[in-house]
C-alpha cells in the first residue's frame, strides 16, 4: 500500500520542483512579490511534509532548512538576494537529485546538501535548530489497574469548535469501568443563555489499566479550553483486601467541594453525613450524589476484581451441559440440512453462508464437547479404595499405581466406563495376582501391583489395566472352551484368538465362584459394555509375568464422523473410523463368486455381508452395488449397500427402550432432510454373522 503512495509523492514532488524553478526565476525579477514568495514557501512546505510522511526523511530534513529561510522571507525578516536565489536553486537541484536517487534506490551525495545548508544558515542564522524529523509517539506505558477521578468542565462554547463532549466521554468509557455523573454549574437566565452552549460538566470515575497519559490524550484537543482534573484515587494493582472505601465526607473534601472544617461541623451531629450536609445547605445535592457514585464505583470495581479472581473456573450442573450438547447436536443436524439445501439450490450466496455456518458449528461443537471433558483421575482414586478392600478380603498384598489421571474423557464415557473397569480390576486381583506366599515361591515380591493407565491416542483414549500376576493359562482356557463347546477340541487357535475366548459368553476360568467375581458377570458383559461405547478391548498376557488389558474408547459419545449409505429408500451410517475403503460390486462379480459372499479386492478375498438381504429390505438392488470395507481388529469385512452418499457428522440418538436389544444397530441419527438413519454396529453385525456360520 505504501508503494503507491510513495510513487504518487515522487511524481508530485517532480511537478513541484519544476514549479519551484519557475517561481524562483520569477522571484529574481520581482524579489518583493509576496505571491511568489508564498509559492516558493508552499512548494518547500509540501515537499517537506509529504516527504516525511512517505518515508523520505532525508529530503524532509533538507527541505526544512530551505523552508525555514523562506519563512523568514515571508515574514519580512529576510530580503531576497541573488545569493539566496542561487542557493535555493541549488537546493532545488539537490532535492531533485535526492528524489532520483530514491527512485533508483541509491543514496544521494550528502556533501552537497551540507554545503547548501551551511550557505543558507549563513544567510539566515537560526540557531542550531534540529531538523524536524518524524518521531513516533512512545508506546503508552502499561500501567496497572487504577481508579482515577476526573473532572471535565468544558467552556460553554466548546461545541462551536466542533467538539462533541459526548464523544470524549464515550472514549473514556471504552477505556475501562466508568461511572459518569453530569453536574451543572448553573444555567444563566434564559435571555443570557446561548442555546448552543454547554452548561454541564462531568465528574467521572474511571478504572483502567491504561495509565494517566492515555486519559490526558482523550482531552488533547480541548485541554486549553476546559478544566480537566485527573487524580488517581485508588490503585488496584496490589491487594483488594480492604473492602471499605473512603467516607463520603473525605471524598468531598478531597474533591474540594467542601472544606474540612465544614465537614467536621456537620459531623458533630448524628445523621448521615450526606443528608445533613445537603439539608443544611452546605453543599448542593448533586455534588453529594456524584461523590456517592465514586464510592459505589470503587466498591463495585473491587467486588468485580474479587469475583474475577474467583471465577477462573465455574461449576455447572451436568444437566445444563447435557442440554447444551443436545442443542449443539440439533444445530449440527440443521446445519447439515442447510449445507444440503445450499448444494441443491446451487446458489453461491447461500453456499457461502452454509460454509460459514458449517465452520462455526464445528467450532461450537468442539468447544461444547470440550466442556464435558473431565480428567479420569477421580475414577482412578475410587479404584484405589476398591483394590485396598478387595486385597485384604482375599488375603493378598496388592498395591495400585496409576498414570495419566489427567487424561480427559467425556463425562458420560467416564460414567459408563466405571463398571467395566471395576470388573477388570477385580479380575486382576481375584484371578491374576497370586497370594503372597505363592509370589515369593515364584521369586516375585510379596506385593503385587495393579497398574492403571490412561493415555490419549488420536480421537480415542487407551486405558490399560496391567497386573504382575500369574498371567493367563492358555491350556486352561483351551480346555474350558472345549468343555463349554465354544471351540472344537481340535481347533487350532493363535494366542490372540485363545485369549479372546475369555470374552465369550459364559466363560470363566475361576475354579470356583468367589464372592468377588462370581456374580454372574463375565468378561462378555465387559466386552459388550465397552463396545456399547464404540470401543474395543484387547488382552495380552505372558505366563507367570502378568496380564495386560487394553481398552480403547472414543473421546466422546455424542457426535461421530460417519459414512452415509443407502439401501433401497433407507439410510444407514457406518462409523467412519472403521471404514477402510469402498469398492464396486457388479452382478458379474456376484455370479463369479458362486453364492459365496466374497469379493476380490486387489487379489485379496474380502468377505462381505449383503445388508439388503440381512435386513430383509425388499426391492431390486442396483446393477452396480457398493461394498464398504471395514477393518475391525485387523480383519477386513465388507458391507454391501446400494449407494455410498458420503461423509456425515452424526449426532447419535439412542434408540428407545423397545429397540434396545436389536442387534447390529447402535443408534440412530437425523439427516439433513429430516429423515432417520440407523447407525450400524459393525462389530455386532460381524459377530452375529460369524455365529450363524458356525
Amino acid at each position: 500500500m505504501m508503494d503507491i503512495h510513495r510513487q504518487a509523492f515522487l511524481e508530485e514532488a517532480a511537478e513541484l520542483l519544476t514549479e519551484l524553478e519557475t517561481s524562483l526565476l520569477e522571484l529574481e525579477e520581482r524579489p518583493e512579490d509576496p505571491d511568489i514568495i508564498g509559492r516558493v514557501f508552499r512548494a518547500m512546505h509540501t515537499i517537506k511534509g509529504s516527504g516525511a510522511m512517505f518515508g523520505f526523511d532525508d529530503i524532509a530534513a533538507f527541505t526544512h532548512e530551505v523552508e525555514t529561510v523562506f519563512d523568514m522571507v515571508r515574514n519580512g525578516r529576510l530580503k531576497v538576494t541573488k545569493k539566496l536565489v542561487n542557493l535555493t536553486l541549488a537546493a532545488r537541484d539537490q532535492i531533485k537529485a535526492m528524489l532520483d536517487a530514491a527512485e533508483r534506490g541509491d543514496l544521494p551525495e550528502e556533501s552537497v546538501s551540507c554545503q547548501i545548508i551551511a550557505g543558507l544558515r549563513e544567510l539566515a542564522p537560526h540557531g542550531d535548530e534540529q531538523p524536524q524529523v518524524h518521531e513516533p509517539k512512545a508506546q503508552p506505558e502499561r500501567a496497572t489497574l487504577a481508579t482515577y477521578r476526573i473532572r471535565f468542565a468544558p467552556v460553554a462554547e466548546i461545541m462551536a469548535c466542533g467538539t462533541n463532549p459526548l464523544h470524549l466521554l464515550n472514549e473514556l468509557r471504552e477505556m475501562g469501568t466508568c461511572s459518569i455523573t453530569a453536574q451543572s454549574k448553573g444555567f444563566p437566565p434564559l435571555e443570557g443563555m446561548n442555546p448552543e452552549g454547554c452548561y454541564v460538566y462531568w465528574d467521572i470515575v474511571l478504572t483502567t489499566d491504561q495509565g494517566v497519559n492515555a486519559i490526558r490524550d482523550v482531552f488533547i484537543f480541548v485541554e486549553d479550553d476546559c478544566e480537566i482534573r485527573i487524580e488517581e484515587i485508588a490503585d488496584h494493582g496490589a491487594s483488594v483486601a480492604d473492602d471499605g472505601y473512603k467516607k463520603l465526607g473525605e471524598i468531598l473534601v478531597e474533591r474540594g467541594d467542601i472544606t474540612a472544617e465544614a465537614m467536621a461541623e456537620v459531623l458533630g451531629q448524628q445523621k448521615r453525613f450526606g443528608e445533613l450536609a445537603v439539608s443544611q445547605g452546605i453543599i448542593p445535592e448533586a455534588k453529594v450524589q456524584s461523590a456517592l457514585v465514586e464510592q459505589r464505583h470503587i466498591k463495585e470495581v473491587r467486588q468485580e476484581k474479587q469475583s474475577q479472581e474467583a471465577a477462573t473456573s465455574i461449576r455447572v450442573p451436568a444437566e445444563r451441559l447435557d442440554v447444551l450438547v443436545n442443542l449443539v447436536g440439533e444445530l449440527v443436524t440443521v446445519q447439515a440440512r442447510l449445507s444440503q439445501t445450499a448444494i441443491e439450490r446451487d446458489d453461491v450466496e447461500l453456499s457461502a453462508i452454509a460454509e460459514e455456518v458449517e465452520r462455526l458449528t464445528s467450532e461450537l461443537r468442539d468447544s461444547a464437547l470440550n466442556i464435558r471433558m473431565l480428567p479420569i483421575g477421580s475414577t482412578f482414586s475410587k479404584f484405589k479404595r476398591l483394590v485396598r478392600d478387595l486385597s485384604s478380603e482375599l488375603g493378598k498384598e496388592i498395591e495400585m499405581t496409576t498414570d495419566g489421571a489427567e487424561t480427559e474423557l467425556d463425562k458420560t464415557v467416564i460414567e459408563k466406563l466405571n463398571d467395566p473397569l471395576v470388573h477388570l480390576i477385580r479380575n486382576s486381583i481375584d484371578h491374576g495376582i497370586e497370594l503372597p506366599e505363592a509370589r515369593v515361591a515364584a521369586g516375585k515380591p510379596r506385593h503385587g501391583t495393579v497398574h492403571l493407565a490412561a493415555v490419549h491416542s488420536g480421537d480415542s483414549v487407551l486405558i490399560t489395566i496391567k497386573d504382575d500376576g500369574a498371567g493367563l493359562d492358555k491350556e486352561a482356557i483351551r480346555a474350558k472352551a472345549v468343555e463349554k463347546g465354544i471351540i472344537p477340541a481340535a481347533a487350532e487357535l493363535s494366542e490372540k484368538e485363545l485369549f479372546n475366548l475369555i470374552f465369550a459368553p459364559g466363560f470363566s476360568t475361576a475354579k470356583k465362584l468367589s464372592s468377588v467375581s462370581g456374580r454372574g458377570v463375565g468378561m462378555d458383559v465387559v466386552k459388550r459394555a465397552i463396545e456399547a461405547l464404540r470401543g474395543s478391548i484387547d488382552v495380552s498376557s505372558s505366563r507367570g509375568e502378568g496380564t495386560r488389558i487394553t481398552v480403547r474408547i472414543p473421546l466422546t459419545l455424542a457426535i461421530i464422523e460417519s459414512l452415509l449409505v443407502k439401501i433401497g429408500g433407507d439410510s444407514f451410517m457406518l462409523p467412519l473410523a472403521l471404514v477402510n475403503e469402498c469398492v464396486e460390486l457388479t452382478r458379474e462379480d456376484v455370479a463369479r463368486a458362486h453364492g459365496r459372499n466374497l469379493a476380490n479386492v486387489r487379489d485379496h478375498l474380502v468377505p462381505y455381508i449383503p445388508l439388503r438381504e440381512r435386513f430383509g429390505i425388499s426391492g431390486e438392488p442396483p446393477e452396480i452395488e457398493q461394498i464398504v470395507i471395514t477393518e475391525v481388529e485387523g480383519a477386513r469385512v465388507g458391507f454391501v449397500v446400494d449407494h455410498v452418499i458420503g461423509e456425515h457428522q452424526t449426532v447419535i440418538k439412542s434408540l428407545g427402550r423397545a429397540y434396545k436389544n436389536i442387534e447390529g444397530i447402535s443408534g440412530a441419527t437425523i439427516l439433513g432432510d429430516g429423515s432417520v438413519a440407523l447407525i450400524l454396529d459393525i462389530q455386532h453385525l460381524i459377530q452375529s454373522v460369524e455365529r450363524e456360520a458356525h
Binding site: E12, M53, F54, M159, C161, G162, V218
Partner: protein, 121 residues
C-alpha cells in the same frame, strides 16, 4: 450510511493517502485541492468532517476553517487541521478560527484514523 469526510490539501500525494486511509476505514471522501475549492464544495455537499491542510494556494486552511464555520451546515462538524510541528502559532490561529483539533505531519494512517474516530465518535 457512511459518513462523508472532506480532505482539503494541495498535495496530491497527501490527498491520496488520506483518501485511501479513510476509505479503508469505511468513510466516504470528498477531495478538494485548496481552500477555495473546498469552500465551494462545502456549500453544495454535506460533509460530516473536514480535514484541511494549512498552507494552500487561493485560500489557506485558516481561511477555510473560518469560512466553513460560517456555513450553517458546518457549524458543529469536527474540523481537523494538518500542521507541522514548526507551525505551533498557526495551530493557535486555527483553533481560534474554530478548528476542533489537529494532526501533526508527518502522520501514519493509524494516527489519522485515531483522530477521526476521536472527533467523529
Amino acid at each position: 450510511m457512511a459518513k462523508v469526510i472532506m480532505t482539503a490539501d494541495d498535495s496530491a500525494s497527501v490527498r491520496q493517502m488520506v483518501t485511501f486511509t479513510l476509505k479503508q476505514g469505511g468513510y466516504e471522501v470528498v477531495e478538494a485541492v485548496d481552500g477555495k475549492d473546498a469552500l465551494q464544495k462545502l456549500s453544495s455537499t454535506k460533509v460530516d468532517m473536514l480535514i484541511t491542510d494549512l498552507n494552500m494556494p487561493n485560500l489557506d486552511g485558516i481561511g477555510l476553517i473560518k469560512g466553513a464555520r460560517a456555513l450553517p451546515s458546518c457549524k458543529f462538524i469536527p474540523i481537523v487541521m494538518l500542521t507541522t510541528e514548526s507551525q505551533d502559532s498557526r495551530k493557535q490561529e486555527g483553533k481560534a478560527a474554530g478548528a476542533t483539533g489537529w494532526i501533526v505531519k508527518p502522520f501514519k494512517p493509524e494516527q489519522l484514523m485515531a483522530v477521526v474516530k476521536k472527533v467523529l465518535g
